[in-house]
Subunit: 229 residues, 2 copies
């Protein structure tokens, strides 16, 4: 069995990769990470380490040629002139962190690779905590995108091809618990949008990360620059 | 009004661009061409000339980082070890020219740019002659993809955002007639999959091109290396 998975190097997608390996010990797994010019491109090194840890093929897809085009949105993740906001991940103010159509772009490329390789599915680590701000992480989008990928590759894709999003209706703290059970070393994952030396501790995704460990009752190995959000 | 259009430099997409300019004289039009490592990347220069001709912004999106991944399909357009077949465009043997998920990849990126720029639509030149071989040119795919782009950008895309495919139910010879009426200089378009010095005249897309001019009764300015298909 072959599978393709989109892995950023964050705790959700690294847990996803560990789960894929656990559930499919003999599968040929191909992890794809994407460099779209995100401030926190340092996350990608952790995606690569994850691939080594689970014995998967690994490629970084270079999309930096479109960074300046997507930055016209003023997204703080790709526009150097828009600061990353502090606060809770689900606050309205976090909409400035949306990168237009990011998941569709990554899923389209991953599906192209999956069809080329005869893979059974493309896996993505989107979860329920993403739904509030990011439309391209919601169940309706994943369902619509699955349908589009079906139609666009009729007769070429694996006969039961699908987008596999096993975390789509569970929370980040549940993912944290699953990762903990699967032996994920969370010190080898990256969340912070600011992409500094250490996790800042106060941006939306750092707040969400801290909360997930706390709710899951899992020891957080992360060094945060500040926890005074 | 703002619009984004996917232009390869072929006669369909160049006619599309001329039509967009004709129908929207004051629009800010952004043409996107894609370098995915296709043999016939020389088509891209004609996309750039088209942008100049209609007064549009122009970018070439560099996707050559995924060429080797998509080439695992054995597509003759991106795998240097698979020759481009001669014959009619709609023959079964032409399936070897399919690049997995190509239109979804291009439409996803174009939609990201459109959302970033507040454009009303993304235009694509797919037409009825493409339907036989290319699943990602069929009405069902365009409808499914439109829905996916809607869901994935809810609250961020232009309120009536759509994928605009005005040629989807018309034939290439009808496109040829439309282009002729709009003043397209077809000598500044490229079709041949082989990407040589001249159009080969015998590959699927050259045969289709010659047929379109013939059926439309439009003088074909193309120099073909051979017309003995």
């Amino acid at each position: 069995m072959k599978a393709v998975a989109i892995v950023s190097g964050g705790m959700d997608s690294v847990t996803l990769a560990f789960k894929l390996r656990h559930d499919n010990p003999d599968a040929e797994i191909h992890l794809l990470a994407f460099n779209y010019g995100q401030r926190h491109f340092k996350e990608l090194q952790f995606a690569g380490e994850c691939a080594q840890d689970i014995g998967a093929d690994f490629d970084i897809v270079n999309l930096t040629g479109i960074t300046h085009l997507l930055a016209a949105s003023g997204s703080s993740l790709v526009d150097p002139n828009t600061p990353v906001p502090d606060g809770h991940y689900a606050e309205e103010s976090m909409k400035i962190t949306v990168v237009p159509n990011r998941n569709a772009i990554m899923l389209s490329i991953a599906t192209g690779v999956a069809v080329a390789e005869g893979a059974e599915f493309v896996a993505t680590g989107v979860h329920s905590g993403d739904h509030a701000i990011y439309p391209d992480c919601r169940p309706n989008f994943i369902a619509a995108m699955t349908n589009a990928m079906w139609e666009g590759n009729e007769g070429f894709a694996y006969r039961d091809f699908k987008i596999f999003a096993p975390f789509i209706n569970i929370s980040k703290d549940q993912i944290c618990s699953i990762g903990d059970e699967l032996g994920v070393d969370f010190s080898k994952t990256w969340s912070c949008y600011k992409g500094g030396e250490q996790h800042c501790g106060t941006c939306g995704t750092c707040v969400e990360r801290r909360e997930a460990f706390s709710l899951a009752g899992v020891t957080d190995p992360t060094i945060y620059a500040s926890v005074d959000a």
